[in-house]
């Protein structure tokens, strides 16, 4: 997980405290609920400039920091591919 992603995700996890965020961190246990998850989706799409594909919109994607990071990377790779194809 890169630092911009960790910085973006951390404010949505009120129960994280001083612990480090790892790929196994379970978002629900760290205080993520439905309302926060929606705001997090907006933050990812506005802040990182990627749109998660419909097939990644499920509870597995939002289960851990690592699963969400993997979906963000897939969306970033797809956006990069689109940009190259358009160039």
């Amino acid at each position: 997980m890169n630092q911009p992603f960790i910085d973006l995700l951390t404010p949505f996890l009120p129960n994280l405290g001083d612990r480090p965020l790892t790929e196994d961190s379970r978002l629900h246990d760290l205080g993520m609920n439905s309302m926060k998850a929606i705001d997090l989706l907006f933050a990812i799409e506005d802040g990182l400039g990627v749109s998660l594909p419909d097939e990644d919109l499920n509870d597995t994607t939002f289960a851990t920091a690592g699963s969400l990071w993997a979906a963000v990377q897939r969306a970033q790779d797809a956006a990069e591919g689109d940009r190259r194809a358009a160039a």
Binding site: P14, I38, D59
Partner: protein, 370 residues
């Protein structure tokens, strides 16, 4: 520039709505606004994809509130704030419906509230099932503005069991599709709003009728209901100021003890207290408008919604009381008070929006409050 500046500049000029009778229904008002090219003007760059232009929305709502009943104003506010921006994220049938709506030909309803689950959207039962390139819709929505007058409804349905926010999807349903039934809600309070119940019984449509992507139902709802909450806050400013002005005028004419009621200090102070609340809500609306309109700030929208409901309740309570028996006339502030209780219910009850505010407050108390 203030969100209310354009509204104030427009106040002295003639309105193209002036020729319509005061009891014009919401659907007829929608047709008239479309014919006058005033619907697209509510969006930034005339494009619903770019979201509302709050100053233009405020100007339109002030004009509508001044001339027509709560039901008709509601019938215009919901599609403007929520349905059209949602449709702008669709393709195929959504694109056509959006164009017809902007022209005023089609009224679109927003059907989120389910028969059994009410406030708790994540528990709704209305189901969309996918079968190749077809979808099937089953369920019942209750208390839906424009239900009996719409040409199409945007329906929030679940495509998977469970409360996760990604389990919901919007489906655009033509009102004349086989299996769709609309009935009036049975209330005298919201004349002209077409409020009613919608039943979907095995409605079959092409997959193109999915709007905004599978799994984006609740997130799109949160983004767009924020705009509806902003619209409600702007409408509340217009409504409170209108009623305060009418009440002051009435008190200034109502004779009492050799003078008029307005001469009484106690009466003036009570009125001024209500004005204070109205001004506080207006100032809050000014300060949070941009956050909601430009940044989809759901906490700011919740704050505005709670403020609008409390302010309207207080101002109408005071003004209706100060008008005595005159307040009970048809269309007077006592009737308005009952209608305006909607500000604390429709689009999320006060409890629900207060919950959102508490949810977004910093736990440690060190950060910014919403």
């Amino acid at each position: 520039m203030s969100v209310f500046a354009a509204r104030e500049a427009a106040a002295g000029t003639g309105s193209p709505l002036a020729t319509l009778p005061a009891d014009t229904s919401g659907a007829d008002l929608w047709h008239a606004l479309g014919a006058q090219n005033r619907l697209a003007g509510v969006y930034r760059g005339n494009d619903p994809r770019r979201g509302v232009d709050p100053a233009a929305l405020s100007t339109l709502l002030t004009d509508v509130d001044r001339r027509f009943g709560v039901g008709s104003t509601l019938a215009v506010t919901v599609p403007l704030a929520t349905c059209l921006p949602l449709l702008a994220h669709g393709t195929g049938p959504a694109t056509h419906t959006l164009a017809d709506s902007l022209d005023g030909h089609t009224v679109v309803a927003l059907a989120a509230t389910d028969e059994d689950s009410g406030c708790d959207l994540a528990a709704l039962d209305t189901r969309v099932t996918f079968d190749g390139d077809r979808v099937r819709l089953d369920g019942t929505k209750r208390w839906i503005t424009n239900a009996t007058t719409c040409g199409a409804a945007l329906v929030l349905a679940r495509h998977r069991p469970g409360p996760h926010f990604t389990n919901f999807t919007w489906v655009l349903v033509p009102a004349d599709a086989p299996g769709v039934r609309a009935e009036p809600a049975g209330t005298d309070l919201f004349d002209g709003s077409g409020t009613g119940h919608l039943a979907f019984d095995g409605v079959r449509l092409t997959r193109e009728h999915v709007v905004g992507g599978t799994g984006r139902g609740l997130s799109a709802f949160a983004a767009h209901i924020a705009t509806e909450r902003l619209a409600g806050a702007l409408w509340a400013v217009a409504l409170c100021e209108r009623v305060l002005r009418d009440t002051a005028r009435h008190l200034g004419r109502r004779r009492q003890g050799g003078g008029v009621l307005w001469d009484r200090e106690a009466i003036r102070q009570r009125w001024a207290g209500a004005l204070l609340r109205s001004r506080q809500h207006r100032a809050l609306t000014e300060s949070l408008t941009e956050a909601v309109a430009a940044r989809r700030d759901t906490a700011a929208a919740a704050l505005l919604k709670a403020s609008a409901a409390e302010t309207v309740e207080h101002v109408l309570d005071v003004c209706a009381h100060l008008q005595g028996a005159h307040g009970f006339r048809t269309g007077g502030p006592q009737q308005l008070r009952a209608q305006a209780a909607l500000f604390g219910i429709g689009g999320g009850t006060t409890e629900v929006v207060l919950d959102i505010m508490a949810e977004t407050a910093p736990l440690a108390g060190a950060g910014e409050l919403p």
